[in-house]
């Protein structure tokens, strides 16, 4: 259990997830109010990660439902195990005959069979899918409905019952009410706007690109042996790249990948050459890479100028950098 907003920040920090007050407030509220959280934001800012670390911090079992187009009730809620039912009928054939012994008419026989149909439509023959698992779990679980925007609008409809009342209605059996209330996270990349009915039932969290200072801390935490100076440079350049008009703006996960790539290449400073060589780690479209490449000289130059001003004895001049680049 989280005790306060501050506590959330600390506990998630222990799990290696550095968050600001905005995120912590919503997580705390979700726990206190027992409401689902709809997490939105650009790809790669740590939406799914948030759910994972919360489940770790709270010691809850995480049940994940990955949404995709065509996801239906049978895959999300529950499914009748037809083959098992069939098998049982085969095995129990004699028993059925026994039950029917002594019946005179067809109607009477049907009546007897009918009296027994609860045997075949019982929870024994149900395969619980993630949504049902989450609410029938013995210990309180954490349900992650990932990329809910990828699912069809119909899917939202039966999500609603689960989210607002934490119950599932199965026509043959009745309504199954949650034994324990799961903490629910829904993530969305905004590919499609969710319906108002769904939004109304959720708390809303918008995770944006982190501030420079926060990103440096994240980088420090996730890539432990990175040089502090390099981390700062990476984050600063990253922010400048984000300011460009790109098709896919790089996010935190790209920053981390990039930092790791730079480490692997033993780079201790961002130079023109190495940046332009590794640009495809952070940019995923040819057009974007081209655009960034064009702007790169400007971006880097700005930085070398700053550097030169700060510590002229160490910083190489642009010419030297260029020469070094050629030698490589």
């Amino acid at each position: 259990m989280f005790k306060s907003v501050q506590d959330v920040i600390e506990q998630l920090g222990e799990q290696g997830y550095i968050c600001d007050k905005k995120i912590a407030t919503v997580v705390f509220l979700a726990q206190q109010l027992g409401k689902p959280v709809l997490v939105e934001g650009p790809a790669g800012v740590g939406k799914t990660e948030l759910a994972k670390v919360v489940s770790k911090a709270l010691g809850r079992n995480m049940i994940r439902l990955q949404c995709y187009e065509g996801l239906d009730e049978a895959k999300a809620l529950y499914e009748w195990e037809y083959s098992k039912q069939l098998l049982y009928t085969q095995i129990l054939k004699d028993k059925v005959a026994e039950t029917l012994a002594g019946t005179q008419t067809l109607a009477e026989a049907a009546e007897r069979v009918g009296a027994q149909d609860s045997v075949f439509f019982s929870s024994r023959f149900i395969v619980p899918r993630p949504l049902m698992q989450a609410i029938t779990s013995e210990k309180p679980a954490l349900l992650l409905v990932d990329e809910v925007d990828k699912s069809d609008p119909e899917f939202e409809a039966f999500l609603l019952e689960v989210l607002s009342d934490f119950q599932i209605t199965i026509p043959e059996i009745g309504t199954i009410v949650a034994r324990t209330q799961p903490l629910v996270f829904l993530t969305s990349n905004d590919a499609r706007e969710m319906s108002d009915a769904l939004k109304r039932r959720c708390l809303h969290l918008w995770i944006d690109y982190p501030s420079e200072e926060l990103e440096i801390r994240i980088l420090d935490r996730k890539v432990p042996n990175i040089d502090k100076r390099l981390a700062e440079e990476v984050v600063q350049l990253m922010n400048r790249i984000r300011a460009l008009d790109l098709k896919k703006t790089p996010s935190i996960s790209e920053t981390l990948d990039w930092a790791r790539a730079l480490l692997a290449l033993n780079a201790d400073e961002l130079e023109d050459q190495i940046v332009s060589d590794t640009l495809n780690v952070i940019l995923k479209y040819e057009g974007d890479v081209e655009k960034a490449q064009n702007e790169l000289s400007k971006l880097i130059k700005k930085k070398t100028a700053e550097q030169a001003a700060e510590k002229p004895q160490v910083a190489p001049t642009p010419e030297a950098t260029a020469k070094k680049g050629i030698l490589h």
Binding site: S4, V5, K21, T25, V37, Y82, S83, D152, H204
Partner: protein, 472 residues
């Protein structure tokens, strides 16, 4: 507090952010759980409960600042300024107030001051804030609509506040002090203080009214403008509006895409697919527990766009292109040609560049045609007929956008007839109103018989309606 949250909720609603009653209740519940000392937590807590759209967050933050920060700070500022002014005149406010308090203690029994006067003399700002808020509510300041009413509502608020009465009381107080034998110099200082107090209150009341106006008006205008944008003629867009229009267009395109995905689903209920059903039910001994239907697939149309990019219709072309390319998934293939008199294909531009640069490039002729000539529709259509007619087949929708102002050239309507014969259908979008078709150098009437759909397309609403017709 509750009242204030409700007022804030109403303000959000008025500004076009949808907040349901249930969400309002959530907000209250959220506040119970949070410590209210931290302003950020307070703001984020309320937001999580009430604002559910990324687009609305900016507006929410602005409104939050406007509503919650406050008026108290303004009040504080005004009084600090007053202190500064008095200090400039060589009067020490603190000392003066202390003196006043002592004098008042002496007169204790027969002193009868109004709440307002008391609050002023003890500098109790939070009390003063409450009083001003209440007075403003009674004066109906919430109904304020424009700048011209600021004076009126300020006056009414001041009346409700009992400002005149308080002013009188303060003057009387000074008189009594004089009677008690206070020195002339000090009396003068006192008078100065009272005058300043009154002035400051008046100013803050006015300030409050102005804030109220801002709150009422905020986003009201924005929303109004957005509504207007869909109605506004493409001919009269400013640079700024074009930029905002882009967003509106992409949002509209997104909405149509959503509708499309639903419709595709509906089509799935067709005939029984025996093959698939048997396969799927192998595990159950071939007994068809799970039935599979054949999906009927709706043909996605191919689209060929012929776009007039002469300056007179450039804006319409811009948004239509953006619209069509935002909806790319709805078509199997889009080919795009631009013309003024010459005709050139710009499909490749759209493949290489991102959409906004591609559109700008296409409007500029895409390096293939000269855009600085006089429109000649007949020539352009003839070119198309000669060189590109093969791109059209039975699944193709041809979309022509232009005002059909042909500068008295040969219309060559038979080209259009041949194109229509080959295509699935032919749509003509004309940014001029139907009453002008066929007049002057317009040859719209000549082309019209060969078009399946002819629509006036002068603003976004009309454009989206046409798009709807084509793809659904």
């Amino acid at each position: 507090m509750q009242k204030k949250v409700v007022a804030f909720t109403n303000l959000l609603r008025k500004s076009g952010i949808r907040v349901s009653v249930a969400e309002g209740i959530d907000a209250f519940n959220a506040l119970d759980e949070l410590s209210l000392d931290d302003r950020e937590i307070f703001r984020d807590g309320l937001r999580a409960a009430m604002v559910k759209r990324g687009d609305d967050i900016a507006a929410y933050d602005e409104l939050f600042e406007l509503f919650w920060s406050g008026f108290y700070d303004n009040l504080r500022q005004a009084f600090d300024q007053m202190e500064g002014d008095l200090g400039g005149a060589g009067i020490d406010l603190d000392q003066l107030l202390k003196q006043l308090a002592e004098m008042m203690k002496e007169m204790d029994g027969n002193l009868d001051l109004s709440e307002l006067a008391k609050a002023l003399l003890t500098q109790d700002l939070s009390q003063l804030e409450n009083m001003i808020r209440q007075a403003a509510e009674e004066a109906g300041t919430g109904r304020i609509e424009n700048m011209l009413q600021v004076g009126f509502f300020s006056r009414r608020t001041a009346e409700q506040l009992g400002l005149e009465g308080a002013s009188q009381e303060l003057e009387n107080l000074v008189e009594r002090m004089r009677a008690m034998g206070m020195g002339d110099a000090q009396i003068q200082q006192m008078q100065e203080l009272m005058r300043k107090l009154m002035e400051t209150v008046r100013r803050t009341v006015r300030n409050f009214t102005e804030r109220e106006l801002q709150q009422q008006n905020h986003n009201y205008m924005e929303k109004f403008r957005r509504e207007m944008l869909t109605e506004k003629s493409f001919y009269h867009l400013t640079e700024d509006e074009i930029a905002r229009m882009r967003e509106v267009v992409s949002r509209l395109a997104q909405r149509i895409k959503n509708i499309l995905s639903i419709r595709k689903k509906r089509l799935k209920r067709g005939k029984l697919d025996l093959h698939q059903t048997l396969r799927r039910n192998m595990a159950r001994g071939g007994i068809p527990f799970e039935v599979v239907y054949k999906t009927r697939r709706k043909d996605r149309p191919k689209l060929v766009i012929l776009c007039d990019v002469s300056s007179s219709v450039a804006n319409v072309s811009r948004f239509m292109l953006q619209f069509m390319y935002s909806l790319q998934e709805a078509f199997t293939k889009i080919r795009c040609y631009v013309f003024v008199a010459e005709l050139g294909e710009v499909t490749s531009v759209f493949q290489d560049k991102d959409i906004s640069t591609a559109i700008e490039k296409a409007l500029d002729g895409g390096d293939v045609i000269n855009v600085y000539t006089r429109s000649n529709f007949g020539y352009a259509f003839h070119e198309f007929w000669k060189n590109h007619l093969a791109t059209i087949d039975k699944k193709t929708t041809v979309m022509i956008l232009g005002d059909a102002r042909n500068n008295y050239n040969d219309a060559k309507a038979w080209c259009i007839r041949d194109i229509q014969n080959k295509a699935k259908n032919l749509v003509w979008l004309n940014p001029e109103s139907p009453s002008a078709w066929g007049f002057g150098d317009s040859v719209m009437d000549r082309y019209m018989p060969y078009c399946d759909i002819v629509e006036e397309c002068r603003n976004l609403r009309q454009l989206s309606r046409v798009v709807d017709q084509i793809i659904l």
